[in-house]
């Protein structure tokens, strides 16, 4: 049960860290607009060349049109295929894509393992010939798991190699960047070895998820299949889960805010709106910048200081 407790703790750290990061973003004060075009929620005819609603005469009198479909059409290949990196930095994409796609496949594997464990908890079986759905879960788990481990391992080896050999990357890399990559390599290497020699059908891994769901019990016959290596892989996976949201690797999900809250955040301020109320609140903050021309004294608000009265000349 010791390993399971570690996994539970790591899951708590993961959920808390993700939650705190997201909460922090939601609590951020409204910022100045800083969008960058193309803004993908513009209608297709404008998004295609990077146009904005401000291309219209008297745009404030017109109803704004936004396209969620455009946004999705842009984001799906961006997330799944790393389109931006492929277009702008192909040689890095050659190693970064397999790594990231490998991780996506492992997330899918985790989901399938969870699904399989639920089937087992419900008294079913996950094996060939155990019904269409169970068979599908069985085979899909093997395919996504195998591909995920292979792609991820190749990708992380490629990334380590690039970061060590390319001075443009090496000179900017910190020891922690290498620690992160080697942590992934360790997890992927151990998992791949465990799969290769002990757990071809991920039965042991599914059993471990089962044990997490049932707080310690194992499905019949699966307990022994996870083995020492499988257990170590589960330990490393748990550790990574907890660790990722604490690092810059949280860009996996924080990218949402970088796009939606900054790059594409083009909401115009309208009189009487909630946005205006938030701006008014921010204008009430009391800055303490000390350069003489600012004239701040800790009592004057931003609104006071914005009244154009230069202090020097």
């Amino acid at each position: 049960m010791g390993l399971q407790i570690i996994s539970y703790l790591c899951l708590i750290v993961f959920l808390s860290a993700v939650g705190l990061r997201i909460r922090k973003q939601w609590k951020m004060p409204v910022h100045f607009r800083w969008e960058l075009y193309p803004v993908q929620h513009e209608p297709r005819e404008k998004a295609s060349y990077g146009g904005s609603y401000m291309e219209e005469v008297n745009w404030w009198e017109k109803k704004r049109r936004k396209s969620l479909i455009n946004e999705i059409k842009y984001m799906v290949p961006e997330i799944l295929l790393l389109r931006g990196l492929r277009e702008e930095n192909r040689s890095l994409w050659n190693v970064s894509f397999p790594f990231h796609f490998g991780l996506y496949l492992l997330f899918a594997t985790l989901f399938l393992l969870f699904l399989g464990a639920i089937i087992l908890v419900s008294g079913g079986k996950v094996s060939p010939g155990a019904g269409a759905f169970s068979s599908l879960v069985h085979y899909l788990t093997i395919v996504t798991g195998f591909l995920g481990l292979i792609l991820g391992t190749l990708g992380v080896i490629g990334l380590i190699h690039r970061r060590l050999k390319d001075p443009n990357l090496k000179n900017y890399s910190s020891p922690l960047d290498f620690v992160n990559l080697f942590l992934f390599l360790l997890f992927l290497g151990v998992s791949l070895t465990a799969w290769l020699f002990f757990d071809h059908s991920f039965e042991g891994a599914r059993g471990y998820i089962y044990s997490l769901i049932t707080f310690g019990s194992w499905p019949e016959g699966a307990g022994g299949k996870i083995g020492v290596l499988g257990g170590f892989a589960a330990f490393l996976a748990s550790l990574l889960f907890a660790y990722i949201p604490l690092t810059h690797m949280s860009h996996m999900f924080m990218k949402y805010f970088m796009y939606h809250s900054i790059r594409w955040e083009d909401t115009p301020n309208v009189k009487g709106s909630r946005l205006e109320a938030e701006i008014l609140n921010n204008l009430g903050f009391k800055p303490t910048w000390v350069a003489p021309h600012i004239g701040a004294d800790g009592k004057k608000t931003w609104a006071d200081l914005a009244a154009p009265k230069p202090k020097e000349g």
Binding site: E55, M258, R263, T288, H293, P308
Partner: protein, 532 residues
């Protein structure tokens, strides 16, 4: 080959961190090969003895060196205090969220590097790599702002903080034009342009350090005298009166430029630099608006006749002061909207950034003049004869107007209608290259900075212009249309420096000049090659 610099090298004292070598710069094609040997004039020892000059071959600010250890330590304390304030909502609510996201999520993949015209055109000098200065700030932030930073610095990337670090970082913030091309290619969404902007802000708002052209002679002078050009209301009215006379002669009918007309539909905000350097632009606006029957006015109130807002490049308080003043004037005149003339940063400052400063009655609608011009042209409110513009024309896209504001097509629709030999640069639109004069560079000329700008930061634009016209014979005059005052200033300097009028018959100007040049019934042409 010498080993490439690392971000931590910024703190190690040396005579110079980077040196531009002519043989490393992207070569210019014929007939400009002789410029391939040009180097930036060496800074004279006696001129730079008392100011910070150890970054590269030029100086943008000229920060006085500390006289003693105490002064040096006080600089460091002030820097650290400003650094803390960048990450406090009371002090930096306007950029806190974007800054934190860009600080915390860079994967250091360097995808941004290849998009930067300064990095590329400098012969890939490491200090100009977009992520170099960002990584310096990032390390300082992690070490001095984040909890346990000093303990974790060895693991996350260490950096020493001393006078050399601070003074070089301040200078380095003025080797980026804030074009944000790097941000547009970042796979994660990190914005090095924003980080540069924040470094500038820290120095201005906490240490009172900024280039004099954009602070003392810029926002401070604008708020005090009325314009960054130094023109007071009397001087500007005199100059515009002269423009009225010139335009009346050119048009063959009385051209009137209205002042302080209450209740007008439009308050036109020019970059006052146009009045002095390109009066034909001011005149062309007057002719078009009058011919189209638009009710419009200029303001003669202090600040109201100068649409520039240099605060957008370096200081949020100065930005807010100028923007509020513009809005107050529009409110007082009871105009329906503010029309922003051909000035890119004025667009960005008043329409985009100040949108989250102006509230209530100060939130007067703002519109780009390019958009209204397009409307006038497409609705057929002017009689136009495109054959009058029967010369090759290419379009420069001001970053502030295009990539940062999404106004891309109106200017192209106009050109397709009035310039039969219009052709695009490569790349263009939201992928454009900066003119090299962005973020204040066009007006900065202390020491040898203008030469650095022309040789390095504007080099890519010059190559683009040459490429756009490469099939055209020398005898044919060619027009670079740049609907932005700062861009025009930078392009003017490029053409002067490389003698491009003489060698390639290259000329430049705004968009409205081309429109008026195509108008039927004008007594004289607006564009007279060789007379600009």
């Amino acid at each position: 080959m010498p080993e490439a610099l690392k971000p931590s090298d910024i703190s190690k004292p040396s005579k110079r961190l980077a040196h531009i070598r002519p043989e490393e710069l992207p070569p210019l094609p014929p007939p400009y090969e002789d410029f391939n040997n040009k180097t930036i004039a060496e800074l004279k020892e006696e001129k730079v003895a008392k100011v910070e000059a150890s970054l590269d071959d030029t100086i943008a600010i000229g920060i006085p060196k500390p006289k003693n250890k105490e002064e040096e330590e006080s600089y460091i304390r002030a820097f650290l205090s400003g650094l803390q304030k960048l990450f406090q909502k009371e002090n930096n609510w306007g950029f806190l969220q974007p800054l934190l996201l860009s600080m915390d999520h860079c994967a250091k993949c360097q995808t941004c590097s290849e998009s930067c015209p300064v990095f590329e055109s400098s012969g890939r000098k490491e200090i100009y790599r977009p992520n170099f200065r960002s990584e310096v700030l990032r390390r300082l932030y992690r070490k001095y702002v984040k909890p346990f930073g000093k303990l974790s610095a060895k693991l996350t990337g260490d950096i020493d903080l001393n006078w050399t670090t601070i003074s070089r970082l301040a200078e380095l913030a003025y080797r980026c034009t804030l074009c944000r091309r790097c941000a547009s290619v970042c796979p994660v969404g990190v914005d090095n342009g924003l980080i540069t902007h924040e470094i500038r802000k820290l120095f201005s708002q906490e240490l009172g350090i900024a280039p004099k052209e954009i602070h003392d002679k810029g926002t401070v002078q604008q708020l005090k005298v009325g314009s960054s050009t130094g023109m007071n209301p009397v001087a500007v009215k005199d100059s515009v009166e002269f423009i009225e006379e010139e335009m009346t002669e050119l048009a063959g009918f009385k051209v009137e430029i209205p002042w302080d007309k209450e209740g007008a539909e439009v308050l036109l905000l020019h970059n006052a630099g146009e009045v002095l350097a390109w009066p034909e632009n001011v005149g062309a606006f007057a002719i078009i608006l009058q011919a189209a029957g638009i009710s419009w006015t200029l303001s003669s109130e202090s600040v109201g006749y100068d649409g520039v807002n240099y605060g957008v490049w370096y200081d949020d308080v100065q930005l807010a002061r100028v923007a509020v003043k513009h809005a107050e004037i529009a409110k007082k005149l009871k105009v329906k909207k503010i029309l922003i003339g051909e000035c890119g940063h004025a667009h960005k400052a008043l329409t985009i950034i100040a949108d989250r400063v102006l509230t209530g009655d100060l939130n007067v609608p703002r519109e780009s003049a390019v958009v209204l011009m397009d409307d006038i042209v497409q609705r057929g409110k002017l009689k136009l004869d495109p054959s009058r513009n029967n010369f090759p024309v290419t379009l420069h896209d001001p970053c502030n107007l295009v990539r940062l504001m999404g106004i891309v097509e109106p200017q192209r629709r106009i050109l397709r209608k009035i310039a039969p030999k219009f052709r695009e640069m490569t790349p263009h639109g939201v992928e454009n290259y900066c003119c090299g004069g962005g973020s204040g560079f066009a007006i900065m000329s202390s020491f040898n900075f203008a030469e650095w700008r022309t040789l390095v930061s504007s080099r890519k634009k010059f190559l683009q212009i040459l490429e756009a016209f490469k099939e055209e014979p020398l005898a044919v005059p060619k027009y670079v249309c740049a609907p932005c005052s700062n861009c025009k200033g930078a392009i003017r300097d490029i053409l002067d420096y490389y003698q491009a009028r003489e060698r390639s018959n290259l000329h430049y100007g705004g968009l409205v000049e081309l429109i008026v040049n195509a108008m039927e019934g004008m007594k004289k042409p607006m564009i007279k090659f060789g007379e600009e």
